[in-house]
Amino acid sequence: MSMNPLLRRRYRLDETPVPFVLNGVAETGRRGDTVLTAILSVSGSLRQSEFTGEKRAGFCLIGACQDCYVMMADGRRVRACSTALLPGMAFITDVGAMAEIGHE
């Protein structure tokens, strides 16, 4: 499973890096990122849907569709498009990827 990042950064390229953890792997966002921007700048989805397990990556980006919920490592869920990224946040967007890391 190698998916391309969904978002392309065009501005704020030299902004202060903000470290976060995605499926157990250290990643870097930028100051001023939403959680959605940070995750989708390095990966291709935010979660899997409840019923069919399809991958989802948000849809409206303005807090209306509720498609962008992301599980945090501590069990909380955040709405990624309207939550600011903070240093040290840890997200799980792919349960399978977590399991693989655990077995390595």
Partner: protein, 466 residues
């Protein structure tokens, strides 16, 4: 001296800011509740941190208006009680009077109000088709928000599809930002654009800008197609392309185009949930095919203490929103016996914009035949993952003719988005199945909380307002 007023403005976009400004000018100190992190609303949304772009770079032709609105808000700030990142999720009534239930930083509070001005804005109007849930498929507004507020583009090779002036604008903005725009697929037929000639008489600037964007895209070699209907997003775990049909003089052709993101939408949909919870009366708007709160020219609703303004009272754009925000505040002041002002000039200005909107709507019509060709296995409800076929079965087996009944039996509109993404589709589907016009299937009623709130709260006692 009359009763003290405690007006609350919900929303801090163009309408909310101008409403608050007018109240402040009358000596009041309104509470302004904003779901956003920074005032400006969606159209004049500001980034979380500056990113080196000028107003021109971020807002293009609307830079002056954006800057004036932001400056007006900054000047207002010491004189209002501004609460960013605050969701109003219910409106209730107790022996104390009227209250809003709000959620801010995880805390539930109640706010009393004597008067309410709802400036709740709009979201993209979208319709379902196969693959609209695949990562990389976004609303048109989402693609613009990504660029405006986060300095990112959705994908790099992007296809834009839909109907509405925003279609060409965002495609152009993406091109300018360095994205490779693969195509602009207009769902309206080319012939509909003749209405722009009529619009040019009333609003030459709007038409000139539209023509400019279209020409620049064409000069850059971007494919522009008309009369398009999507068949499917290609790719399952990520957008890899789009297959679509289009009408040509020689008949219908099917084409595919590769891309890594799709941005699509069909103009906007008013956010009316709070007006509904407030008990405002609604009417069916023929042009936009939706139910809207009844309002007089100033923004008075059927409820004497509730006013509405901006796109949340019917889509009319940012300029009209600024005017209607001010008008709603003037109506409030007049009703409260505080001031009576001359509204004629503002009303005339707003009416001019509304007339332009009517023409614009003809140039960018809604694809009313959508469900004639959408395959049965298409997901209609993104939240509960309910297909068109399942909904059709529910309609047939229950002989359903009313949208709330359809919601109860099929769960469409019951998911986390509360119908924001599927209600336009559900109404078209149901009215089509019943062979009636969309107004005949009724209105999907709003429910509190209007957006999801943490499960572990709501039962408890709200904390004091502070």
């Amino acid at each position: 001296m009359s009763e003290p007023l405690s007006p609350v403005v919900v929303g801090a976009g163009p309408a909310g800011i101008r409403a608050a400004e007018r109240l402040v000018r009358a000596g009041l100190r309104p509470i302004v509740l904003d779901e956003g992190q920074r005032a400006g609303g969606q159209i004049y949304r500001r980034p979380l941190v500056e990113d080196g772009r000028s107003y021109r770079g971020r807002y293009g032709s609307e830079a002056g208006k954006a800057q004036r609105l932001h400056q007006a808000f900054e000047a207002l700030l010491p004189q209002i009680d501004y609460r960013p990142e605050t969701l109003v999720w219910n409106i209730s009534h107790s022996e104390r009077g009227n209250q809003l239930d709000i959620l801010s930083a995880g805390v539930h509070r109640q706010v009393d109000f004597s008067h309410l001005i709802l400036c709740t804005g709009a979201t993209d109007r979208v319709l379902p088709f196969p693959g609209w849930t695949v990562p990389g498929a976004y609303t048109l507004g989402a693609s613009q928000t990504a660029l405006k507020a986060q300095g990112c583009t959705v994908g790099d090779r992007v296809v834009f599809m839909g109907s509405g002036p925003l279609l060409y604008l965002v495609a152009w903005q993406y091109m300018r930002a360095g994205a490779r725009v693969q195509a602009v697929l207009d769902t309206a037929p080319l012939a509909s654009k003749r209405h722009l000639l009529a619009l040019a008489v009333h609003a030459p600037r709007i038409v000139a800008l539209g023509v400019f964007y279209g020409l620049q895209l064409q000069l850059a070699g971007v494919k522009i197609r008309y009369g398009v209907r999507p068949e499917a997003v290609l790719g399952t775990s990520q957008v890899e392309g789009l297959r679509y049909r289009r009408r040509t003089p020689a008949g219908e052709v099917v084409e595919s185009i590769a891309c890594d993101a799709l941005a699509y939408g069909f103009a906007l949909r008013a956010e009316t949930q709070l007006a509904d919870l407030a008990g405002c009366r609604f009417h069916f708007d023929e042009r936009d095919r939706v139910w809207l709160p009844e309002r007089d020219v100033l923004g008075r609703t059927s409820r004497p203490d509730v006013y509405i303004a901006g796109d949340g009272s019917g889509i009319a754009g940012a300029d009209a929103a600024e005017i209607s925000g001010e008008l709603a505040a003037m109506a409030l002041l007049e009703d409260a016996g505080r001031a009576s002002a001359d509204v004629a000039r503002l009303v005339a200005a707003r009416n001019r914009i509304l007339r332009q909107r009517d023409i614009l709507e003809q140039a960018f019509p809604f694809p009313a035949d959508w469900f004639e060709t959408v395959p049965a296995e298409t997901t209609l409800c993104r939240c509960e993952e309910i297909t068109v076929a399942e909904v059709r079965r529910t309609i047939a087996s229950g002989s359903i003719t009313e949208i709330n009944r359809l919601k109860a039996l099929s769960r469409v509109g019951m998911g986390r988005c509360q119908g924001r993404m599927c209600s336009a589709g559900a109404a078209e589907l149901l009215s089509g199945a019943c062979g009636v016009t969309a107004d005949k299937v009724g209105r999907l009623r709003a429910q509190a909380p209007v957006k999801p709130i943490p499960l572990n709260f709501g039962g408890g006692k709200p904390e004091a307002w502070s």
